[in-house]
Subunit: 558 residues, 2 copies
Amino acid sequence: MIRVSDYIADFIYKLGVSHVFMLSGGGSIYLDDGIACHPHLKEICVINEATAPMMAEAYSRLNGNIGVVCVTTGPGGTNAVTGVAEAWVDSAPVLVISGQVENKNTTSYSFIKNIRTLGCQELNIIDVVKSITKYSYIVFDPYDIRYHLEKAVYYAKSGRPGPVWIDVPLDVQAAMIDETFLKGFVPELLDIKTTDRDIDKIIEFLYNSKKPLVVIGQGVRQSGSIDDFKKFLDYLQIPVISSRLGQDILSFDHLCNFGHGGFKGSELTKKIMQEADFILSIGSRLSVPFIGSPVIFSKKSKLVVVNIDVVELLRRDINIDYHIHSDIKDFLLKLNNKIEIIDHSIINESYKEWLIYCTSQKKEKSLVNVEKLSDPIDLYHFVSRLDVLSSERNIFVSDAGSSYYVCGQSLSFSKGQREITSGAFASMGLSIALSIGCCVADPEAQVLTVTGDGSVEVNIQELKTLSYYNFNAKIFVINNGGYLSIRNTQDKLFDGRYINSTESPLNFKKIADAFNVPYFFIDSYKNIDLVVKEVMRFDGCALIEVLCDNKQKIHTQY
Amino acid sequence: MIRVSDYIADFIYKLGVSHVFMLSGGGSIYLDDGIACHPHLKEICVINEATAPMMAEAYSRLNGNIGVVCVTTGPGGTNAVTGVAEAWVDSAPVLVISGQVENKNTTSYSFIKNIRTLGCQELNIIDVVKSITKYSYIVFDPYDIRYHLEKAVYYAKSGRPGPVWIDVPLDVQAAMIDETFLKGFVPELLDIKTTDRDIDKIIEFLYNSKKPLVVIGQGVRQSGSIDDFKKFLDYLQIPVISSRLGQDILSFDHLCNFGHGGFKGSELTKKIMQEADFILSIGSRLSVPFIGSPVIFSKKSKLVVVNIDVVELLRRDINIDYHIHSDIKDFLLKLNNKIEIIDHSIINESYKEWLIYCTSQKKEKSLVNVEKLSDPIDLYHFVSRLDVLSSERNIFVSDAGSSYYVCGQSLSFSKGQREITSGAFASMGLSIALSIGCCVADPEAQVLTVTGDGSVEVNIQELKTLSYYNFNAKIFVINNGGYLSIRNTQDKLFDGRYINSTESPLNFKKIADAFNVPYFFIDSYKNIDLVVKEVMRFDGCALIEVLCDNKQKIHTQY
């Protein structure tokens, strides 16, 4: 016999998960105890549940497995909604386990429609998260626990990954069960594979194209296909542009890589996207900020989309000439096999001129490595220096607004580093949480985080978590006098009529001191290298305020 | 012709609302501009959208009207979910207006089921909040704006109040419309009234009872019936016990009032609830923590429930002998009219003994006014002193955990003050936000806030908002070494096996300094009066750390 909460803890451990991101509460008291009592599982305790799924998201992205969160009932669950929505839009496998009041005191068990709440701190959280999770369930019967956990994890990790939610009432958490009577979940095997016809079509498109372009998204990484993709590139030497979350798949130094495209891409990526006559999108959802609205691709170009999420193929705002609903790995394996046996020199001979043309403009029209040797510090210059000074050991984290844009435009990933950021949502204030998730997933890594004075305030409470565990994350706070990107929009639309975008930043020296985080200051371009090297030299957390141009313009393409 | 965002701003102003709680964003850029450009409307800008609906809730509770929030798309909306859930379970009229991407880039407009996101920072927020709002709608057509705003406000304020949500795409926000073509919303008139039969039944129950008890909830206040209720009490002199949110309706000094009942009530309220032979519940949802699980009322007692929310009358976890689906004001008016014309002395003569019996124990068995003249400071003693030193001008705000319990058990409301707190959810970390909402609603008031070292961390970022506007709120932070009430539960269940409940509190002196809030310290019972009087003497914000017993026991009744 085993207590359900201990069963859950062991289930999490057996997933290959080492840490649970959590905040204790009366409604999850047995779940918390189960995690604490497990001999190998460790807890990372946050200050506000909002950040727990963000940490779990970063953790899952780095270890390629799944991140686990445990929260209490009522506000514990609702606080976690943003992080779950993040995992939903950015396809991160995250399992949230929430405590709930006893079965008999839940609104769902009452079967009274529209009753707002019953037990202490009670809410039907499943109704709230249903539309932003792949699976969500309240487990009424202790003997159902294995089935629903297995089902949830299967959904989180299979197909296009995403968040799942299991709600566990207090009496279920505390119940004693005989493990031998637990039934498991047997998934229907879905064969989402590429057909011979699909491959023939691709080859046909390739033969007919003079200026092909490959767009890659994080699906290439999530399907474990980076090597297969590189093999494909070796064969064909086609220009590549990446989505924001696909950006750390290839080094910018790679002959075929032209970096991140879209609204906040570079002049060059815009040009390539406009001029290409065939676009093959692999594992990217072709977001609106990426493709533009109206779409930037030439009307004469052909578009083929390969995606494991079938709904992404039903879009009507883009003209898809051919779509392939397939696992990316299977697609690339089959495509590579075909290319191997055909005379691909015939194909890529004709691309040479196109690649040379693109490459000729790579230096001048891409934003990477802005050199500005004067003050105030240009954010592009700062991020370029950070990039140059970084090593294989570093993981980049970027926050919303200007940090998000500039990291997207200036990081080169030349040492194979990862970048963790909020992709589709570009939310403010995730960076401390994402940094912590990275440190937990990879204790040997050193995290370099770029956030803004506006963003960092949003979840500033997690500086306590950062300092408590002394995670090896260096938080560079760009002080540019408030919400820079909002000011930029207000300049454009309202002729500089500012609202809620010019409030003074916090006193970061005092904030760092109050949260017991070592503080550094970069006030001139002359000190960038010195201070960055200094903080990189030691392990542990640091907050580095970087005084930047408060009139910084962000380069936008459309 | 008028821009939709200006129409919305003026609509808000014409509701009688003076301030909007907001955080600017790219997805709400025209809404923000509309609010800023309005000649009379003012904006209160928060640091994390999470707190905006909490402020609006407090604002609406104090002005008896409605609170309005404006947030941006994606994370802006999801961040606000907890506050909306709060308003849902605690019946506060709150209107959230959210920005959304352009119509054509929304998932709802795409009509593709299960597509996760489309435009920049886009999410179908309506699906997320549908189950925790009375009305929610995305306005695709600029000419529908008036109809949906009017409908939303009607739902928010009518019947049992609650939150509503209107999502406005960017192109709708920016559209120019001719006001004369806007159609309005005409509500169906619902007559939720008390019948003659209902009144006859109540009179019958009253005649047959020797030990009646009236339970009051905030419905008495929300229906504008406090005076009617007092008139009823004058006639019949029946003991009254209040729900947590009904607590500030009557002074504890009132002859008939025995204070707040329930799990965290007093020994006396428990006794009265157990011994009463007839319970008349008016405008209370009889929450599980109030009535107990199993229910604490005697099986022989009769229970009549009067509520405007019909679903609360369908509960099967309590035995309701008779229920009245009615507006509380209508119920009390009709009941008072009837009592006036019958010989009510026959009724209340028989209650005298019962009232004397209850009153005889009022001092000894209620927790109000704990005197403990030694250190460490007892939290009950501290709150009692705060109560004694307070004046008509003060509004109390309490946070979750021990602050929530002790304020519920120790405040007397003898000067007619209000208390604003998180009722059904008892969420951690709302108190700064609630305090700000109170200050905005009543600029002449001085807010006395009791929060814990665990709770205050959760939304500590709003200290910046507090200090920026220098609101007249005194934040008393009870330092008792972390999550006291979690430790109490862990003591009980796991023999003191603590998890995530003993982390050191923040250094509040440094925190206050970092956020530019004046800091005070109470380290001994001897200084309580001195420091409390000192901070009351000036207008503006202050953070007062109160070093309390970290082994404080909270009195629980069941």
